[in-house]
Symmetry: C2
Subunit: 210 residues, 2 copies
Amino acid sequence: MPRSEVSSPVIKRLPRYYRFLGELKRQGVIHISSRELSEKMGLTASQIRQDLNCFGGFGQQGYGYNIEQLHEAVGNILGLQAANKTILIGAGNLGRAITAHIEFPKRGFQLIGIFDNDPNICGKKMRGIEVMNISRVSDFCRDNSPVCAVLCIPKKAAGELVPELVKCGIKAFWNFSHYEFNITENEKIIVENVHLADSLMTLAYGLNNY
Amino acid sequence: MPRSEVSSPVIKRLPRYYRFLGELKRQGVIHISSRELSEKMGLTASQIRQDLNCFGGFGQQGYGYNIEQLHEAVGNILGLQAANKTILIGAGNLGRAITAHIEFPKRGFQLIGIFDNDPNICGKKMRGIEVMNISRVSDFCRDNSPVCAVLCIPKKAAGELVPELVKCGIKAFWNFSHYEFNITENEKIIVENVHLADSLMTLAYGLNNY
């Protein structure tokens, strides 16, 4: 199946396959049947087979999947070997935590620049990277060609900055701001939104209607 | 419609309605038609009417919605006035950022305790709350009756701790760990998962298949 035809729910399940397979690999498991994998993951065996068939044939009838091979294959499908050059905008609490907590190289990314507009933060180092003034972001992009930006800034600031970043060649956004991308206008832009406050309010709804 | 019958996608959209309405309110907008709101939110007008009709009648034919009233009503449906007592487990980079960055009271929660197992972190204060040793969590729950726990700990630690927390009366989990809740076993447990690494790997897929 051409990658462009793989549905979004299938794509969203791939990282979870990758995690489960990695764990099985660390536990020393060599093979697993789609039935066993489905029980561990809370999916049906047929869904697992369908999902993986989108990307070509894996596993052997009656024999199951070779964990190490499938783990590597899913990692390659995800593009985790890529080291996509990435900048992070906004070195406040959240930006600092993401810089410190997220293992970018293991996820296909390489953090090469951090920016903020606060002169008290600029010049400080985070994970060995000096925080630069946001006014330098265009020059930095021209010289270093990052393709991904992590947005840890308020909605308004994101709204002002995103068009400039797109012009600078940023193709993918990991968006922690509440800025809403108009994807119809930016068809070639890839966005992953992480709306932490929305997630917490959904939990409030659950408790309110417990 | 009874709340238990409202579908999960509708519930997931509520926080976004709440954000948009709050912004319109701050901009001084008094009324809005479902058509105008739908254009702003990238939904269809009929979807907005259907979503809101799950919770009773809002708006008047030919007149639209009163922003302030609808904002307040959606906030009440979400339960943002609730101040659900909450504990946070794991005061590492991520736990610290969530403590500092998230406005718990505005989202229906009140952070009353923070726990870690690192003696170098215990005793320190975060947002005015002293980090306690995780060994004290059961006693703390017995004395203070929190209903929600934010998990900022590794998968293995979460797996060991969750059964104890459920016994202590925790009903809702904001789960940043990779621990997978078995919801069929814990029907009355409410979970919101935030899998940051999965989100980033989905972005890697997008770039890899750009």
